[in-house]
Point group: C3
Chain length 407, copies 3
């Protein structure tokens, strides 16, 4: 019993290694080493150094943005300040600078004629076709309102009157070019619990107040001149101010956390967000409507409707951070080692097919066993044994010669 257990234990603590054939041939040897060198170079240079396959990457960036606009502009003969032209006022990820406002003052609820010539009419039938339309300035009642003596009039609407006329020519606020945007962006990589801000902690308050962002000379200054940003995107400022538009301020964080944390800095770039729609003629520009509400002495509400053409800024923060981690390293390393091994597939093909003496190499590498052969060993009739050539006898047990000096 004990000897059986001992045998099993001894059988367990053995070491199995592959039997190899070492081919001392210059041609295959050199090809082998060159292939190995190429594979190793590829892995070290591209996979490890360039692609950093030994790192785990966090792409779920957590970001908080605070913005503040500064500057004064003229619009409708009034000086506009931040409280007037920045919407929404909280200074968040998205904000608009109103550059042209078409105001329709003193609107009261009631009925009145449409303003647009699209809704001109000479009898009620011209207006009933517009019933339920969303394109008017109010609910189309179906009546045609004509002034005394005139042959054509406009359809009647119910709603806020008088109707807005957005065809008036108004000079946009071109001063927007000189406005500045201060951006405070703090990010966090939750996987690594690393927090960073978009300007260095060594920057003093005075330095920040004076600087203006420039991609080369002041890449970390958090104050952006609107004119510079627009120019970078290739926009024509006066056209943009007149029609409105959407600008993306991309803040890109690409951090290698195996390096010093101080190298984890943002990169800014600026894009036209409506670029994918450049070919469609619709919806160039950006505008929206809002109203300010007032009350008359006797309590009736009235409003000033604003159709605001605005430059909308979207601060888009993206980023990823990498840090050494054992699992990707292991997977990459094992892949690398195995790939080096796979290199031998190529060499095998060359060795066994294209080299002089390929048949001999084949004979060396492969040891054939056929079923017939095995059968012959299982049923060793004395006669058949004799029929074998001398020296071949060992083929039944070659390699299993358990050489025990004791016997």
């Amino acid at each position: 019993m004990a000897s059986v257990v001992w045998g099993l234990v001894a059988g367990f603590f053995t070491y199995e290694t592959t039997k190899s054939v070492v081919v001392k041939s210059w041609s295959v040897g050199i090809i082998n080493r060159i292939v190995q060198l190429l594979i190793i170079t590829y892995f070290v240079g591209w996979v490890f150094i360039h692609e950093k396959a030994y790192q785990v990457t966090d792409t779920g960036i957590e970001s908080s943005v605070m913005t503040k606009v500064k500057g004064f502009g003229y619009q409708n003969n009034r000086v506009m300040d931040v409280a007037d032209y920045v919407v929404p006022s909280q200074g968040s990820t998205m904000f608009c600078i109103l550059t042209k406002i078409i105001m329709t003052e003193n609107q009261f609820q009631g009925v009145c004629p449409e303003s647009s010539d699209k809704f001109s009419c000479d009898r009620d039938e011209n207006c009933t076709k517009w019933l339920g339309s969303n394109l008017s300035n109010g609910v189309i009642t179906g009546k045609c309102l004509k002034s005394f003596n005139e042959s054509r009039g406009h359809c009647e609407i119910e709603g806020w009157c008088p109707a807005e006329n957005d065809q008036v020519k108004i000079k946009p606020m071109l001063d927007v070019e000189n406005f500045t945007i201060f951006i405070k962006n703090s990010i966090r990589f939750p996987l690594f619990n690393v927090t960073r801000g978009n300007f260095p902690s060594t920057m003093t308050s005075a330095e920040i107040k004076k600087c203006t962002y420039h991609p080369v000379s002041a890449p970390f200054c958090p104050i952006f001149r609107v004119g510079d940003v627009l120019q970078d995107t290739g926009h024509n400022v006066s056209e943009l101010a007149a029609k409105g538009g959407e600008i993306g301020i991309n803040i890109e964080w690409k951090c290698n956390l195996d390096q010093d944390i101080e190298y984890c800095v943002p990169k800014y770039f600026f894009t036209k967000l409506d670029a994918p729609f450049a070919k469609n003629s619709i919806s160039t520009g950006y505008n929206f409507r809002f109203a300010k509400y007032f009350k008359t002495e006797n309590g009736t509400e009235f409003r000033t409707l604003h159709k605001a053409y605005a430059i909308r800024f979207d601060i888009l923060v993206t980023g990823n951070a990498g840090r050494f981690s054992t699992i990707p390293t292991l997977i990459s390393l094992v892949t690398a080692f195995t790939s080096v091994g796979l290199g031998s597939v190529l060499c095998d093909i060359i060795l066994l097919n294209f080299l002089k003496g390929a048949e001999q190499y084949k004979a060396k590498k492969f040891e054939e066993v056929t079923e017939a052969q095995i059968e012959a060993c299982i049923t060793p009739s004395p006669g058949s044994q004799l029929s074998l050539r001398p020296g071949v006898k060992s083929s039944c047990d070659s390699g299993a010669i358990s050489l025990s000096p004791s016997d």
Copy 2:
């Protein structure tokens, strides 16, 4: 010296390949090829074609959304237009359509009785228990205000008076069903620097103005009828308009950038965002309070408090893009090759245990070396050599026979 270096160089340029046993057996041969076929089929079909394991994926989508609502509705006998019912007005990722507004007009700072019966009282003690409550319409002073001759009254509050009474019955704006939402969504995959818009660049302005989104007949039309969206989520429009609610408009981008970029198109679907809370009785619906401020002639500020029930739309953009990349391809390929190799583990088990002649195959595959054997070789006493059976002699150096024709 030179010959030593030469020896090292020659030793380096060798090629080592594993010695293999080729088993010419139908049973194992067929099993082997079937296992290999299964593994290869799995890798080609599932891993490569279906799961696209040869691609690197970018999930950090960058998105910008512009929305515009159109339509008119009646509320409190007034016609409401976009400037009245869309909050916030900028047309961003999130916007609310106010469907029911409970207005409390002409509120001034002061003291007054609570409106809710929850705060009814017959003496001050009934009110002091509410001190510091957040559920009232103002700061509870602790006094009980009773009209002359009445036995019960309401607790006094300090704040904006008169207190809001949100129990009034108001007809919600059911016209919301016919409103339309225009969504302009431009995205970017930063890893590949690919930019896309949510409607094809071949769509003309006229086409866009006329169409309405339909999952089958108009899947790329960017104009959505609110009624369709609500119906798709399974909402009852009149209930939603009365209580408010949160709707998610998901825009899903799944792009295979190895194909033509024109196939990179969005898919829309609509969800109830409060679905996870369906079982909790709390907070069904969605409402918030805001105020409009006015001034009397003598400069006193007063306000109109709005409790607004709204349908809130959240445009949720998700997506990922894949493009061929060498590293995942390599890892997958090496995994595939190695897996094919691992298939031989199964065959080995069959060959060495369950096949007729297993012992013989084992003998062929494994060559045993014991410590004793090695020891015998190291210390070759003439006598011990003799004790070996003839023909076994070669076991000390088999395979290492350096055959040099020169000797």
Copy 3:
């Protein structure tokens, strides 16, 4: 012809397995098993159990947040309610609680002197240097306005007059501490189409109304006391209320979807969002300006400018979910198996270099073939054959002995 095809088919259905050397040595055997055990332990314990390398992970979380603040506070001798101090009012991911408001009432368009001493002057030249400045309260005209009899005055500005004086001392609204924030967060993992809410579906309306979040005793209560949140971030409430600040409420979802879905619950934590800027003296605090617009009887617009110091809350939702998937499991498994195989590299080094009898083991493991040897086999001149030692003859065809009992 048929026999050739038959030969090819028979050649195809063969099984090739590596020939192995089994070393029955205690030392190498034990080292081998220990190395294998270590590698397996590492993979099972760290890679599979701890790092869950068998899962595919979804990091593109889709989130929707609804917030509602409750509470009353005193400011400028007025009671402020939610409609007064929460901006924006919709209760979205980001909201501000205004804690200190500096109001400049009755501003009309016109010209007036600056308020700040920074713009004091004794002649026009002192003011012309400020032309184009963004730091004033309006457009600097370049004039120096001096009261009769005084030597020093202030520069003239054009814009909203009178100019704001933000140096006034105002008591912040410290009641903010007792405000409560209700957060409703529903998330979705698009990859798995799993939707979750931030409080359990078993929580009743009454339970939610009564509870207050506490990390230990009430970790799933969705109602947060502002004072608790601020304390957790280490903020001094009175300082924060006076200067404003940015607070992050992080909701972290880490879900193992192989477990019951009920274990997929959020974790909350609270951070100072301006922590990365703690060292910069600039921009501590948070404030923004907005205006309320009024009209006089004769229709002139005037405004009340508000410089609002606010506590801004950003609800930052992050998360990832993992679920068993075949591809990462396969890759990890293959990596594990291959790594176990790589363990033999270490054993080989020990076996072939440091063990007693290393040369003998080497002889066993490696079978050398030289080009000369192969050449000798290819050109078998009778004489050269004789020059070989007897018994070595088989080196030309060893392993390729095709043993056919029929011959």
